[in-house]
Symmetry: C2
DNA sequence: TTTTAACTTGAACATGTGTTCAAAATCAAA
DNA sequence: TTTGATTTTGAACACATGTTCAAGTTAAAA
């Protein structure tokens, strides 16, 4: 046995995630990364293999963080649908200034890389799909709890919410008008309850 | 007086636009461009100044193309709202396979470049705003023509449509499920008519 | 204290990048 | 045909990029 890793793997991935989320895959150079995570090229490549593999881990880290936050909002709100709406408000409006980017990191990945790095695209797709599945589960619970109509279709509503989430976050980057977006979120969830 | 430009400026910008739209700003090298528009570095820089300026012209070209298409759909459909819906279906579903990317080029620009190239971001914002204004005009005509309710607010509806358009196009890239997206578009416009 | 296997370092490499510029080619006017 | 301003060409430049690897450092085990 010998030296065990000096760095904290999760911490490093988190820091890399923040930088990747801000600047995107191509605009983040390995030099930028070296500085952000305070590791030298050799160590980075020994630990992660390549820039792309580190990015993959960063994507998963991002996705997990979002999923945890959604869970917390549901607990705080005390109801599935209330939690979802709080989550929307948090992501689209409250956190959009403190986050590295207004736009979802999975969406940024999907729009930036395409032919090159097909694995990054596939992973982003997969993680987005998981998010939608999670939305559907939550909406099913809302249906079971009587928060939404008996005839509502959780899968269709989940897809609808996914489109809203993606669209709203990008729109926020365009317009910087939190008040109108807050109203839009209210309308979206009012329509779901009907 | 001497030689006049050999190349067709609009044609060159259009070709550059298609490549930029497909690959994004950073992933399109000037070598790629040289091949696509069949011009040598010196000519390109004499004609456009820099890669960024050529991209700016490409953005405007893209935006004009979309605006023209919207106009055509309105004429074909014979009504403002019908034209808008046809435009949505065309962009999100029909053309998404033949276009260089499923995603709006303005949105791609906005999510890819940020701190670097602030002028590209500002131009994308401006062009997106113009699109929304156009939507609002069309919706006002729909209101005047009795296609939508008297109490409807064209500005709010235009914002809503913009979010849908952005979200749907990215969702199409994620899921590749045209049938469900077609239903979603039907629902969106059914709700507007109410 | 010495050994040893794992980890860390940073200079170096090969390639790709946006851009420049002197030389060559072009063609309307003289 | 000659002139001459303009356009085109492509080699070259300076720098940035992802990645490698031999040498150095570390600390647990012997």
């Amino acid at each position: 046995m010998a030296n065990v890793a000096k760095y904290n793997r999760d911490d490093v991935i988190h820091k890399a995630m923040l930088l990747f989320w801000e600047k995107g895959y191509n605009s983040t150079s390995t030099r930028d990364l070296q500085q952000a995570i305070d590791m030298r090229p050799g160590s980075i490549y020994a630990a992660f293999g390549s820039k792309e593999q580190l990015y993959r881990e960063a994507l998963v880290c991002y996705s997990q963080g979002m999923a945890e936050m959604l869970g917390q909002r549901i607990v705080s709100a005390g109801s599935p649908l209330g939690g979802l709406e709080a989550f929307f408000r948090n992501v689209v409006i409250d956190q959009c200034d403190t986050n590295p980017s207004e736009v979802c990191m999975l969406v940024k990945t999907l729009t930036e890389v395409s032919d090159d790095h097909p694995e990054l695209m596939e992973l982003s797709r997969e993680l987005l799909k998981r998010t939608e599945d999670r939305f559907a589960d939550i909406l099913q619970q809302a249906k079971d709890g009587g928060e939404i109509a008996k005839h509502a279709n959780p899968r269709i509503l989940a897809r609808h919410l996914q489109v809203q989430m993606i669209g709203l976050r990008i729109y926020m980057k365009t317009s910087r008008n939190p008040d109108s977006l807050s109203e839009q979120i209210s309308t979206i969830f009012a329509n779901i309850k009907r």
